[in-house]
């Protein structure tokens, strides 16, 4: 079907507008991070950088705690991701492929947990972690991150599991394969995109988490990126060059991850969505 001139104009005009609204703020941050300090605070900002320097990145890596924050964030995010996948996968399989009493009620309750306000359990969790000596420990962050990523992760597996024809499992059962073998050998490769999208969701949730990390972590050396940065923002004299370089560096890992498996993540987010 052919578009009229008006339709084409509104389509490409709309696309341009969307690209500007989403892309321009990022463009200013990325280009800002390589401008000289005096260009950064120039009264009329420059669209295209007139100067080039890596001094902000040098400062970020050598004179700030950023490398420590980065490492902490990485460790917490990777462990959170691994445990979320380990817990979500069998649960999702049971919810969407098996039958057991109370399945629906249980599934709805778990879904409700996704919309649960974190700040509500922050206070009692702080007390519980204090009792078992987990304050200021990355373990506490992993526990919290997994708990908040888990409900949505289970839900996301739904569309991927339902795309696998049941005949495949039934054939395996007829062949006499034990259920676990079916899961690991046959199903896993088929739902790999689903596992990837759960992993990326868990990673992003953890990478972004601020509230719990700000309360449960006390010492500077154990802070994650969000809390570490918040400390820099709060200082009296803001070093914009440093912050923009930091923001750029914090965006890169998720962008790389997204470039690799983003397509699956988006389909996991939307396919089973509206039901």
């Amino acid at each position: 079907m052919r578009r009229t001139l008006g339709q084409s104009l509104s389509l490409y005009g709309g696309l341009l507008l969307i690209a500007l609204v989403i892309g321009l703020p990022f463009w200013w941050v990325l280009t800002g991070s390589i401008k000289l300090p005096k260009e950064i605070i120039q009264r009329v900002p420059t669209m295209v950088p007139q100067s080039f320097t890596l001094q902000h990145f040098e400062k970020l890596l050598q004179a700030s705690d950023f490398p420590v924050y980065l490492l902490n964030s990485m460790v917490v995010a990777l462990f959170s991701t691994a445990f979320t996948v380990l817990l979500a996968l069998p649960a999702a399989y049971a919810f969407f492929r098996m039958e057991f009493p109370g399945r629906n009620a249980l599934y709805k309750t778990i879904l409700l947990a996704y919309a649960f306000p974190g700040v509500v359990v922050l206070i009692p969790l702080y007390g519980l972690f204090a009792k078992v000596g987990l304050i200021d420990s990355p373990v506490a962050l992993v526990i919290v991150n997994v708990a908040f990523a888990l409900p949505f992760s289970i839900w996301m597996m739904r569309s991927f599991l339902s795309s696998v024809p049941r005949e495949i499992e039934e054939a395996a059962v007829v062949d006499g394969a034990p259920t676990l073998t079916i899961l690991v050998r046959i199903l896993m490769p088929l739902i790999a995109p689903g596992i990837a999208s759960v992993a990326i969701f868990a990673f992003i949730s953890s990478w972004t988490e601020y509230l719990f990390a700000s309360v449960l972590i006390v010492s500077d050396a154990r802070r994650t990126i969000p809390v570490g940065f918040a400390g820099i923002i709060g200082q009296y004299q803001i070093d914009w060059g440093l912050l923009l370089a930091g923001a750029t560096a914090a965006i890169i890992p998720v962008v790389i991850l997204f470039a690799l498996v983003g397509r699956w993540f988006v389909s996991g987010l939307t396919d089973g969505a509206v039901k």
Binding site: A115, V120, P226, V274
Partner: protein
């Protein structure tokens, strides 16, 4: 596949974990709300409904609730408009449509603190781009402080939060749009219906179930937003952006009134669960009418 034992073995790790990390603390919060604990770690005594009388009798809770309602409704309106417009554009066929549908979510996958840095810088009066742009457009005479007055602080936060969340809403709407059968549009075209007519008679009514689900989920998700508000205004100026999550955090960790914070937490939970319950019932009823 029927194998109850195995199913329970598969579900229980996740379930036990969630009960321990989310369920049990909720019970603890309820217990705490009947005591008089101040600083974290100190002992408390049972004081019955004392905290509830204090909180419900004071103005702070009700004002924060009011701000939360303004916050949720404004975010819903702004995000629905932005997301619907974006979804209608991305629902068409054009080269690179896949890339556009994937990378639209960029604002949602970067850490909140990065969103905060981006907007603090863009809105800053030295080096920020927004002020010069507005001056050039003739909207303002000299640089303004976007977080300086009560109204502009709230409005600015709503715009920033919507910028972060509307791509997520867009993807959900796209999922709803792709489920509308294409033949409906073909038939309408044959009957001579224009673009606006097709939107009004087909897209809008058939998108209602999606919008309703988004309304419920979106309400809960925006209600819970804490970090964007805390990092940009910390609830200020003069409490103008202190929503319920911010109030809970401040009461517990700045005011050192732990039991009162737990009380507000319990009240908040009751409110949200009540909303979720009635909203899903209303949705089921609407579904049955259709």
């Amino acid at each position: 596949m029927k194998n109850t034992t195995l199913a329970i073995a598969f579900v229980s790790p996740a379930l036990i974990f969630l009960l321990a990390v989310l369920g049990w603390p909720l019970v603890q919060a309820a217990i705490l709300s009947f005591q008089d604990v101040g600083v974290i770690g100190s002992e408390g005594h049972f004081i019955g409904l004392g905290n509830y009388a204090t909180i419900l009798g004071g103005a702070g809770f009700w004002q924060a609730l009011g701000r939360s309602i303004v916050w949720v409704l404004s975010n819903a309106v702004v995000q629905t408009i932005l997301a619907l417009a974006t979804a209608l554009v991305l629902n068409q066929k054009f080269p690179g449509v896949r890339i556009a549908r994937t990378w639209i979510i960029l604002t949602w996958i970067v850490p909140t603190v990065v969103v905060v840095i981006i907007w603090r810088w863009l809105l800053s009066s030295s080096g920020g781009i927004i002020n010069p742009l507005l001056i050039q457009a003739g909207a303002i005479d000299r640089p303004v402080g976007f977080f300086a007055t009560r109204e502009s602080a709230m409005a600015t936060l709503i715009m920033i939060n919507s910028w972060r969340w509307f791509p997520f809403t867009t993807l959900m709407m796209l999922a709803g749009l792709t489920r509308i059968p294409g033949d409906l549009y073909e038939a309408a075209r044959v009957d001579g219906a224009g673009t606006f007519q097709r939107f009004k008679r087909i897209t809008w009514p058939l998108l209602q179930p999606t919008l309703m689900v988004l309304g419920v989920v979106g309400t809960l998700l925006s209600f819970n937003v804490f970090d964007v508000i805390w990092l940009l205004t910390a609830g200020g100026p003069a409490g103008a952006t202190q929503t319920l999550p911010v109030l809970i955090y401040e009461t517990a960790f700045k005011g050192y009134r732990l039991s009162q914070a737990a009380t507000i937490s319990v009240l908040t939970t009751i409110l949200l669960m009540g909303f979720a319950f009635f909203a899903t019932r209303a949705m089921a009823a609407a579904e049955a009418d259709r």
